[in-house]
Amino acid sequence: MTAPPIRAAFDLVDHHGREVTERTYRGSWLLVQFGFTSCRVVCPRALAKLSAALDALDPPPGLVVPLYVTVDPERDTPDVLRAHLEAAHPRFTGLTGPPERIEEAKRAFLVFARRRPDPDDPDGYAVPHTAITYLVDPRGRPAHHWPDTRDAADITADLRRLVLSPPPDAR
């Protein structure tokens, strides 16, 4: 599988309220998932799967930084993201920001997300989105991606190969 043709670029705010860009994390591998905290099916499944994959990989601290970028910035403030992730998916750092910067990040990562009415949601809407997970190498280059259909074991195996035994130019 070739590297995804994305630009791994963003200019957002993390769930501690700090301004971050892709350069903030240089030197670490980034595991990037887009979603929204009110998502009832796709995100909980994806975040649980990725957490399980990372648990199995058990990387040294700082080697892999899992990021969860919201596609619903109106609801997903830094505080909402932090509360949600710390409670359920503590490996992840949430990123949010003004809608136009979220749009830029979506474009850069080729992420599709679009708000639509959802009568089952307390606020009356959902934001269906692409559920691809991206891996970005320590130099900020796209390295790999996993569609939603990959399971945790596959992801762990790929991470072991790519992150724990990377080719020299990916370190």
Binding site: M1, T2, P4, P5, L110, F112, A113, R114, R116, P128, H129, T130, I132, P147, D148, T149
Partner: protein, 488 residues
């Protein structure tokens, strides 16, 4: 025993003849539409000849790669001709009722596969991959093997050249799917048709078979999830035709038009067989008109009026319903449709080739449908005759293994040799061959992958045929068809 009948051989001969036309000789292939922007365009005729050849090779004449391979290559060469894809330079600018509001944002695009236009790009992709899969070849993996180029002495400045291959094109289409949330890639700007994304899924599957990976499964899973929001079927139980990318408005098959259901059902059977089969009997019943002596014809929807203009297009309704019935294994419907075509649509034989010529007259004096488009008369009726039940499903789900490509086979077939049987049964290559004297050729076939010590029988008589480069050349005698056997 799998053997072609006279009509099936006639369709193959016609496709062979069309594939051999000089560049830009499109005689017999011109439809009602203008500028190659409708459903009768050359791209569809060329692509579905390739699909029909693939189905025939896979299911009926598996031991005759030499018959199919050059024909598929010639058709793919034609698919790359600018006359086939230059409509995109204009269509990319928008201006239809579905994207008129976007016209200010859309510009002229020369590269015919770089954005939207899945109604062309997916056929280039899937045809190239069918070729490479069926012949265990890397012909279209070579960089630039799928290049779109145009240059005119008379206008336009320098050469336009857009180089792709089966891998780069597949990758490009895959990431367009991702970017669109897997709902599909548009045909005309803003218009995502269910139909036209199915060939890309077949292409992803073939690419996975050739190179590894799970693109097809990924895309199908995403496609299912994306369309769950809209529904595959409309309120009337017919396939939703298209989705407007920006407004997310779904356009149902409102008339309903036979081609929408038939084309979509035919192709979607590759990966969604149970669903397609469950809905087929009810859907097809809405379109069939009983005729004399068990014949069946197809009732087209009335031509639409849009912006005060009649929409002129080749619907290809008859052909698509026949193709659909063939994929569903609905022999009674298929036989009825073919009987109607043979009785009312002027089957025409020329030098051993069979087609049904274009006729724009809706019906004869007794009301029997006579209207037929080049896509139906050149391609789809032949496709339907040559297909088998679940033919596309088999291409998708039951690929050939490496063992197939090690078996003896007719690896070269001269133009004037008709092959009506070519299969390996219990290790023995069986073929039935006939010399067609109406066309030029040397009347020979070459058998490749011949086991050491194999005996060759022609018409029951053992031959001592000359070997060339590991193959054996056999001259086919004039006269009736003869049986060939290569016994290990």
């Amino acid at each position: 025993m799998r053997q072609l009948d006279r009509e099936q051989s006639g369709h193959l001969r016609h496709w062979d003849e069309l594939s051999r036309r000089q560049p830009n000789d499109w005689s017999l292939m011109q439809g009602k539409g203008t500028g190659q922007d409708d459903f009768g365009g050359y791209r569809f005729q060329l692509a579905y000849m390739v699909y029909g050849l693939a189905l025939t090779h896979r299911h009926r004449l598996p031991a005759a790669p030499g018959l199919f391979r050059p024909m598929m290559q010639r058709l793919i060469d034609k698919l790359l001709l600018p006359e086939v894809w230059m409509y995109w330079r204009d269509v990319s600018r928008g201006g239809s009722v579905f994207n008129a509001h976007l016209a200010d944002r859309l510009g002229e695009e020369w590269d015919p596969v770089v954005r939207d236009n899945i109604m062309y790009s997916a056929y280039v992709q899937s045809c190239a991959l069918l070729h490479d899969h069926l012949f265990a070849d890397d012909r279209y993996a070579r960089p630039g093997s799928l290049t779109f180029r145009h240059w005119s002495f008379f206008w336009g400045g320098g050469e336009k050249r857009f180089a792709y291959d089966r891998d780069s094109l597949t990758e490009h289409l895959y990431w367009q799917m991702v970017r669109n949330g897997y709902v599909g890639i548009a045909c005309e700007p803003n218009c995502v048709f269910q139909i036209c994304n199915q060939p890309a899924i077949l292409g992803f599957r073939l690419h996975d078979l050739l190179t590894g990976g799970t693109r097809a499964d990924d895309v199908v899973a995403g496609y299912e999830r994306a369309w769950a929001e809209f529904g595959r079927l409309d309120a009337g139980g017919h396939y939703n035709m298209m989705l407007a990318e920006d407004s997310r408005a779904v356009r149902p098959n409102e008339a309903p038009s036979p081609w929408v259901d038939a084309w979509c059902g035919t192709l979607m059977n590759t990966w969604n067989r149970d669903f397609v089969r469950e809905n087929y009997p009810r859907q097809v019943a809405d379109f069939l008109v009983p005729g004399p002596d068990g014949t069946l014809s197809v009732r087209s929807a009335p031509a639409r009026q849009v912006m005060g203009q009649p929409v002129v297009t080749d619907t290809c309704d008859t052909g698509w319903v026949a193709a659909w019935a063939s994929e569903m294994g609905d022999r009674a419907t298929l036989d009825g449709l073919l009987a109607h075509a043979d009785r009312f649509m002027a089957p025409t034989w020329r030098d051993g080739a069979l087609h049904y010529p274009r006729n724009d007259t809706p019906a004869d004096a007794c009301g029997h449908r006579t209207e037929i488009e080049p896509m139906t008369g050149n391609v789809l009726l032949g496709y339907a005759r040559l297909n088998v039940a679940d033919g596309l499903w088999g291409l998708y789900n039951e690929p050939w293994s490496a063992a197939h490509h090690a078996e003896p086979a007719l690896v070269e077939v001269d133009r004037d040799v008709e092959v009506s049987r070519a299969e390996v049964v219990d290790g023995v290559l069986h073929a039935r061959l006939r010399r067609e004297t109406a066309v030029p050729g040397d009347g020979a076939v070459t058998i490749g992958r011949v086991p050491a010590g194999a005996r060759l029988l022609l018409g029951g008589t053992e031959l001592d045929a000359p070997a060339v480069d590991g193959g054996v050349v056999v001259r086919v005698p004039d006269g009736p068809a003869v049986d060939l056997a290569l016994v290990p």
